[in-house]
C-alpha cells in the first residue's frame, strides 16, 4: 500500500492549539475542559498512527485544466491560477489514521459529547499537521525547489468528485483511506489534493481574495 507512517511525536497536537481552535483567547476554559484535553493528549500519544503519501508527477496545463499522469484535473479557475508555472505536482493524501477513529467514544450520547468534541478538533489539527509534515518531506526531497500551498478538491470551485482522479493517481487506498461513491474519505480525518512544484511558482498563497466561500476556515490564514 502507498503509505508512509509518521511518528506521532513529529505531529503532536498541543493543548494550546486545541484551545485556540475553539476560540479561547483571553478567557480561560473551565478546569473540566483542561482535564479532558489532557486525557486526550495521553490517548493520542499512545494510540494514533498518522500516515501520508505523495507522488511527484510531471504535469502540464491544458487551458483551465491540468494534465497529470494521464488524468485531466479540472481544478477550477481559482486554483489553476494559483498553480500557474508549476512543472510537476505532488499528488497527496494524508490521514490521522484508522486508529484515531477507534479512540472516539463508542456511543456519542450527550454525556460523552465534551470528549467527542475535543477529540474531533484534535483530529482535525492532527491531519493538518500531518499535511505540514508531508510538505517538509517534499522539501527535503526537492531541496531549493519552490512549491505552492496544498490545494484540495472541494475547495474554490474544484469539484469534490475530482477526488476520484487523485485516488486513481495514488493507487487504491493510499494510507488505508477509502473513497465512497459520494467522495467521502474514511477515516473522516483525511485530506487529499495536489501541490504545484516549479522554480517560478507562487509560494504560500491561498486564494481567499478570489474565493466566495465566506464560511471557509482557511480564510485569512
Amino acid at each position: 500500500m502507498n503509505s508512509i507512517p509518521v511518528a506521532y511525536s513529529e505531529v503532536e497536537v498541543l493543548p494550546e492549539e486545541i484551545l485556540k481552535d475553539i476560540g479561547y483567547g483571553n478567557t480561560a476554559p473551565e478546569s473540566d475542559v483542561l482535564d479532558v484535553i489532557n486525557n486526550i493528549m495521553e490517548l493520542l500519544r499512545r494510540k494514533v498512527k498518522p500516515r501520508y503519501f505523495f507522488a511527484v508527477l510531471e504535469g502540464y496545463f491544458e487551458g483551465a485544466t491540468i494534465s497529470i499522469g494521464g488524468q485531466l484535473l479540472e481544478t477550477g479557475a481559482v486554483i489553476t491560477r494559483l498553480l500557474e508555472r508549476s512543472t510537476s505536482f505532488a499528488v497527496f493524501a494524508a490521514t490521522a489514521g484508522h486508529e484515531f477513529e477507534q479512540i472516539l467514544p463508542p456511543n456519542k450520547t450527550s454525556d460523552d459529547m465534551l470528549t467527542a468534541y475535543l477529540l474531533d478538533i484534535a483530529g482535525t489539527l492532527l491531519v493538518e499537521k500531518v499535511g505540514d509534515y508531508m510538505e517538509k518531506q517534499l522539501e527535503a526531497l526537492l531541496p531549493e525547489m519552490p512549491h505552492t500551498n496544498r490545494f484540495s478538491p472541494g475547495y474554490c470551485g474544484w469539484h469534490l468528485t475530482e477526488q476520484r482522479k487523485i485516488f486513481d493517481l495514488l493507487g487504491q487506498n493510499p494510507c488505508g483511506i477509502g473513497l465512497s461513491d459520494v467522495c467521502l474519505m474514511t477515516p473522516i480525518k483525511s485530506i487529499s489534493g495536489i501541490i504545484g512544484i516549479g522554480s517560478n511558482v507562487q509560494t504560500g498563497q491561498y486564494a481567499c481574495c478570489y474565493c466566495e466561500m465566506e464560511t471557509c476556515y482557511k480564510r485569512k490564514k
Binding site: 475553539i22 476560540g23 479561547y24 478567557t27 476554559p29 473551565e30 473540566d32 475542559v33 456519542k108 450527550s110 454525556d111 459529547m113 465534551l114 467527542a116 468534541y117 475535543l118 474531533d120 472541494g154 469534490l160 468528485t161 465512497s180 461513491d181 459520494v182 467522495c183 467521502l184 474514511t186 473522516i188 464560511t215
Partner: protein
C-alpha cells in the same frame, strides 16, 4: 427555597453533580416543577447561550451546561408526565445517506436535549425511509437533517420528498444544517429552517414549534 439560585449557577457553570443535588433537594421540598424549570434551569441555559453568541463562552461550556441541565431534567421527568408544564417537543435527528459526519449533528442533538427537547439521534448515513419511519414511530414534531458535503446535501431533497409521499410532510417541521448548507438552500428544497450552529438551532426549533 433559597438553594435554587445554586441550581441556576450549577447549570450555568456546567456543574452536573451540583445541578442534580440541588434539583433533588428542590423536589424533596416540593418546589413547583414549572418554577424550577422556567425560572432557574432554562434561564441558565439562556444565559450560557447568550454568552456563546457574544463570544464569552464556547462550545465546551455549552456542552457542559447542556449536560448539567439534562442530568437535572432526568430527575424531573417523572413529575412532568402529570404536570401542566408544556413539553418542548420531540426531535428526530440524523446525518443523510452517504455522509458519515457526526460531530455537528451530535452538538445540535446535545443542545436540543439540554433545552428540554426529547431527542432521538438515529445516527449517520441514514436513508430517507429510515427518517420517515422514525418520525412516525416517535411522533416527532421536528426532523433535523445534517450533511457536510455538497455531494450529500442534495439527498435532503429526497428525504423531504419521501415525507411528502408518506403523507406526513405537514406533520413535522424540517430543520437542516451542516457546513455547505445555507438558508437559500433550505428555502430551495422546501425545508422549514436552517441554522449555522447548535445554539441557534435551539432558538430555531422553539420558533418553528411556536409558529
Amino acid at each position: 427555597m433559597e438553594n435554587l439560585d445554586q441550581l441556576y449557577e450549577a447549570i450555568l457553570k456546567g456543574n452536573r453533580p451540583l445541578a442534580i443535588e440541588t434539583t433533588k433537594l428542590a423536589i424533596e421540598q416540593k418546589v413547583d416543577i414549572r418554577t424550577i424549570i422556567d425560572n432557574y434551569m432554562s434561564k441558565a441555559m439562556d444565559e450560557i447561550g447568550h454568552r456563546f453568541e457574544n463570544g464569552k463562552a464556547f462550545v465546551p461550556e455549552l456542552l457542559m451546561s447542556a449536560r448539567a441541565m439534562k442530568g437535572a431534567m432526568e430527575l424531573l421527568q417523572p413529575f412532568l408526565a402529570n404536570s401542566d408544564v408544556p413539553r418542548a417537543g420531540t426531535v428526530v435527528i440524523g446525518t443523510v445517506k452517504g455522509d458519515l459526519h457526526d460531530i455537528g449533528k451530535n452538538l445540535v442533538a446535545a443542545m436540543l436535549e439540554g433545552s428540554g427537547f426529547e431527542v432521538i439521534n438515529i445516527g449517520v448515513d441514514i436513508p430517507s425511509g429510515k427518517f420517515v419511519s422514525s418520525v412516525v414511530e416517535h411522533q416527532a414534531n421536528i426532523l433535523c437533517l445534517s450533511a457536510l458535503l455538497t455531494t450529500t446535501m442534495n439527498y435532503m431533497k429526497d428525504v423531504i420528498r419521501a415525507l411528502e409521499e408518506a403523507g406526513i410532510r405537514n406533520k413535522v417541521k424540517i430543520m437542516i444544517g451542516g457546513a455547505p448548507i445555507s438558508s437559500t438552500f433550505a428555502t430551495e428544497i422546501g425545508a422549514d429552517g436552517y441554522s449555522s450552529n447548535a445554539n441557534a438551532a435551539v432558538a430555531l426549533a422553539r420558533q418553528l414549534l411556536a409558529s
